[in-house]
């Protein structure tokens, strides 16, 4: 049996890589990719913990929900990106600062 | 305000006066400086005359004279105890000759800066501040006060070299500054350590009082620099030894010893003549004075242990400095290296831990003060005229500048230890003391004394060689006829500056008791403090 700490460490690393991508990337697509990585890390955690929950299968169920939500988020996100691109001709988020009042 | 305080702060007053006067009166600055320095000299001579030579000083407050002790800073630091800093000054046999020497050399330096053109106001003001700091160092008996003066001394010197100096003045000034600062920073560490180790028995507070630091019973048991039951170590070295070495290092830079001497040739060569005079005449003495007043008095136990090494460094400095002087082609640099050699005698004498050696070292300091000041002034005379100091560019100067040659010859012979001049007494007694050390069981072997005496031979070699190369023979000058016209003989001002210095060297050589009488009690006292640890 692989101990739970192994999964946690791997998921932490993947999460932080995703975090880095989110914070540092100049490309909205890559930011989305980063978000996906983070979600995947979270799913890994769910799955890892679900081993000890044979009665409810809560972890795995929520992992499935998360995958679906992620897919929806990507779909919406990409739609927004494409619109933004059409509008600004760029997908660098640092150039999109009109949210500022 | 006692005489000693007046002596210290008189130049400060002069500096303020100079700063206050408008620049339109800039012709008067030098007169102000002159008058105040003269007053200072008169005061120091008065103190010399009033001095009671029977009192020892060193570690007993009753042995000090002209003592002034005023509470300066009193702070309650809660857990850390009470901060106790005094304005505490006084002189004993060790500081008296140096104070008189300083006021005299200052006067010479004013005489040498008579024709300064560049920002006269700042120049004289800085000179006066320097004067104050130097006096303060020699008189301070509170370590904090000592340190304050020590730092105050640095700054004017840095500017004096850095602004009024020669071609590479910034480099030299920086080098000087960094070396000295390194020393003083190290010193500060030990000062703080000592402060926390020593308690004033009267008030129960920690104290910076140097005299209290000399008494083993004032140390807190088990404190960092404590005398008894002290097992503190720094990298495996006992704490007191570390303290001694660090303090010694700080003062050794000033002396300077080999290999911490490299600032000296550069600083001397680049400094303007008056500052060279002060550097050689006074500044180097602070090192020797510090070793006696601080290192040896506060750490007598370590002093007794380490004197073999100190003597070795002294011998090394003597021989190394002399050989380097022999290799020089720049007159000023040669004299700078000769200073290294001559100051090595001071260290050897101090390390010999004999009455003869210590007295000889003190005498050598005073003698070197006069003579090196005169030598640098003489170099300045030549440099003023043709702006060249390269030895091989001159030949047969005796034909065109007979008086100058006579003065140079006298100064050279006095410096190389011709009997009748003061350097002889100093060097001879350092050597005698070093030989005597073995009989006194102080641990300095006799071969070191022999090594030191080789320095006397070498000093004769480089001085005579220079005399032969520059002054004798047929006149040949690098600058040709132009130089021949520029090289006029000494004028009256220069003679007035030089004559007293050389005369004093002669007088001290013939009547050494002028210094020894005031010194003896202190030297014996110091040796008595160290003797139990031998």
């Amino acid at each position: 049996m692989i101990s739970i700490t192994h999964f946690l460490v791997v998921s932490a690393i993947i999460f932080c890589i995703g975090l880095y991508a989110v914070l540092a990337k100049r490309n909205a697509i890559m930011i989305l990719v980063g978000i996906e990585l983070m979600i995947n890390a979270a799913i890994l955690n769910f799955v890892a913990f679900s081993r000890y929950d044979k009665i409810n299968y809560g972890g795995q169920v929520f992992a499935l929900f998360a995958i679906v939500l992620a897919a929806a988020a990507v779909a919406v996100g990409l739609a927004i990106i494409l619109n933004v691109y059409k509008y600004y001709k760029t997908i660098d988020p640092s150039n999109i600062n009109e949210l500022r009042d | 305000m006692g005489a000693l305080s007046i002596l210290i702060f008189l130049p400060l007053f002069a500096a303020l006066l100079i700063l206050a006067l408008p620049s339109s009166l800039k012709g008067s600055y030098r007169y102000i400086a002159l008058v105040f320095t003269l007053a200072q000299l008169a005061l120091s001579l008065y103190m010399y005359q009033q001095f009671d030579p029977t009192l020892g000083g060193i570690n007993s407050i009753s042995g000090y004279q002209f003592v002034e002790q005023i509470p300066w800073i009193r702070l309650d630091l809660g857990q850390l105890g009470k901060l106790e800093i005094d304005y505490f000054v006084g002189i004993d046999g060790v500081s008296l000759p140096l104070i008189v020497l300083s006021s005299f050399v200052m006067l010479m330096s004013i005489g040498a800066s008579w024709h300064v053109e560049k920002s006269v106001k700042g120049y004289f003001a800085l000179l006066m501040v320097l004067n104050m700091a130097v006096m303060g160092i020699f008189a301070a008996l509170d370590f904090f006060l000592f340190y304050v003066f020590y730092e105050v001394m640095l700054l004017p010197l840095y500017f004096l070299i850095g602004i009024w100096g020669g071609a590479r003045r910034e480099y030299a000034a920086m080098k000087f500054f960094i070396y000295t600062l390194l020393g003083s920073v190290l010193m500060l560490l030990v000062i703080v350590g000592l402060y926390f180790s020593v308690v004033n028995p009267a008030s129960g507070a920690h104290t910076f009082n140097i005299l209290l630091m000399m008494n083993p019973s004032n140390y807190v048991d088990g404190s960092f620099f404590g005398f008894l039951g002290n097992y503190h170590e720094v990298f495996g070295v006992p704490a007191r030894l570390v303290g001694f070495i660090v303090l010694f290092f700080a003062f050794a830079i000033k002396v300077p010893i080999v290999p911490l001497h490299t600032w000296l040739p550069d600083a001397h060569v680049e400094a303007p003549t008056p500052v060279s005079i002060i550097l050689a005449g006074i500044l180097l003495k602070i090192g020797g004075y510090g070793i006696i007043r601080v290192c040896y008095s506060i750490f007598p136990d370590i002093a007794a242990d380490t004197n073999w090494w100190l003597a070795l460094i002294g011998v090394l400095s003597i021989v190394y400095g002399a050989l380097n002087a022999l290799a020089q082609k720049d007159l000023k640099r040669m004299i700078a290296y000769s200073s290294v050699s001559h100051m090595g005698f001071v260290l050897l004498g101090i390390a010999s831990l004999t009455a003869e050696g210590l007295s000889g070292a003190m005498f050598q300091m005073v003698s070197h003060g006069f003579l090196s000041a005169a030598l640098f002034f003489l170099v300045g005379v030549l440099y003023d005229r043709v702006h060249d100091r390269y030895i091989y560019n001159f030949r047969g100067l005796a034909n065109i500048m007979p008086t100058y040659t006579a003065y140079v010859a006298i100064a050279f012979f006095a410096s190389l230890g011709l009997p009748g001049f003061s350097a002889f007494i100093g060097e001879a007694f350092v050597i005698i003391g070093a030989f005597n050390a073995e009989a006194m069981l102080t641990g300095v072997p006799r071969w070191m004394a022999v090594g030191g005496s080789v320095g006397i031979l070498l000093s004769a070699a480089y001085f005579l060689w220079t005399l032969q190369r520059m002054f004798f023979g047929q006149t040949r000058l690098q600058g040709g006829e132009k130089w021949r016209l520029a090289l006029t003989d000494l004028d009256t001002r220069e003679k007035i500056v030089l004559l007293p210095a050389l005369a004093l060297a002669l007088v001290l050589g013939i009547v050494p008791s002028l210094i020894f009488d005031n010194l003896n009690a202190s030297v014996i006292q110091l040796l008595d403090t160290i003797k139990p640890y031998l």
């Binding site: 692989i2 101990s3 739970i4 192994h6 999964f7 946690l8 460490v9 791997v10 932490a12 993947i14 932080c16 890589i17 975090l19 880095y20 991508a21 914070l23 540092a24 990337k25 100049r26 490309n27 909205a28 697509i29 990719v33 996906e36 990585l37 995947n40 799913i43 799955v47 890892a48 679900s50 081993r51 000890y52 929950d53 044979k54 409810n56 299968y57 795995q60 169920v61 992992a63 499935l64 929900f65 995958i67 679906v68 939500l69 992620a70 897919a71 929806a72 988020a73 990507v74 779909a75 919406v76 990409l78 739609a79 990106i81 494409l82 691109y85 001709k89 760029t90 997908i91 150039n95 | -």
Partner: protein, 182 residues
Amino acid sequence: MTIDVLLFYAFATMAIGSALLLVSIRNTARALFLLFIVLFAMAGLYLFALADFIAITQILVYVGGVLILLIFAFMLSNKELLHDLQRVSHRFIMIPRWQALLLSAAFLSIMLYSFLSWSKSMPEWIETAQMNGTVISPADNNIQALGFRFMTQYVLPFEIISIFLMMALIGAAHISRKEQNA
């Protein structure tokens, strides 16, 4: 060390390595293909956590859906991408890369610290589960159990998420449609 541990390490290394390469590579297209590898490796890791159905879903949804979408979007917005990448912004608020790195590293170290200090004592529910023997074993039929629970215990969330998914897809389609009056 058994073969499954080795395999676990292999998958973990693949996932982490590819992810690192992913964020450090310049070319977005390649980055997206690296994401493919990462996702596969992650699916493999799920297997080791005894979640075979999740792993399959991961491959189906992510690799089959999300990734295709991403590549699609990338190809649509590729025109000035390089130009944008090369522009260095000196905006006051902008977080430079190394600061992001620093933040991530800080976050990682915090997490690792907490995991490692935590792993000595497992949460209570895990310990009770281990005691009661209610731990998923490789022999269990996960798909059946999951399906059973979706239809009974989690039927409401299941329905809500279905509606949500539909809304999202319709919304996405609406947003990305061509503006007639723009």
